[in-house]
Homo-oligomer: 64 residues x 6
């Protein structure tokens, strides 16, 4: 503890995941004083068909 | 914000997902006064092998 | 099941909560075909001091 | 209700999942006095590429 | 890890909480083979005004 | 989106919360390429009576 859950859409590369987990862990250690091994980060990647913003599924949004 | 997470079992059709996200977003806008673009809905679909009710996995429930 | 969790900031009135839970439940019943008594909605109200958008706590945002 | 969500890494066997859901349900019934059919357990299995401890992804940890 | 989150309504006694956390931890150790110190259980107690079943807030349900 | 939820125990100061939310938001922007205003961080602070590690409530752990 602390446990961090990140909900995002689509697929990220291994580099993106590694970097995000590392920096979030550092932030928790720095600000909350938690030891490294107590920090767990879970990435929940939701398919674009299963997530919506403003009532529109990401899979059905027009390309920007 | 607000963020809504819906945990369900099995697979829904795209029509079901679209309709649910749309109506939940409308409900949040209507009752909480949130602007559309602030409302994010995440659907977490759990396989029947990974969810249980009354201690029995959905994948092992007798057909009704 | 399904279970719905709504994360919002600040305090809502009982009327707002009642209306939101009712409409979300109706949406789940309509689109997912779930029976009423299977739908559970949990409202997680986070204090403005404990939630941030764009890196700024809601308690420290300038009034709009 | 209560609803229980278990976040773990990797893949478990059907026997492990069945046993865990059964025992967690029993624990909720015993200590909280909930009826069996009110207890829902959701298992969220995160791939080793999507979860980190101490800032290191499980997929990149050295074997122990 | 694993991390377990239990969403329930109302207030439980310290004895109930202690017992539930103990038994859930034992279940995770037994079935998933996790070491004790890796298991974290978080109890999220929602006020009866903030949780609904079948579209009705627990605070407004008729007494049974 | 992305939405980040941080589960921790006990009470943190406003400075700690501000710093954590800022740095997590920066990490999400840097690694996932998300615009600032799309990143929402929710801090769920659980009382020591409601969270356990290794089956022991934080409120009942011996002082270290």
């Amino acid at each position: 503890m602390p446990e961090v859950v990140v909900y995002s859409v689509g697929n990220r590369s291994q580099d993106q995941k590694r970097g995000l987990c590392k920096d979030i862990t550092d932030a928790v250690m720095k600000h909350y004083g938690a030891p490294a091994e107590a920090v767990v980060v879970t990435l929940v990647e939701t398919p674009k068909t299963d997530k919506a913003k403003a009532g529109v599924l990401f899979s059905e949004m027009p390309p920007r």
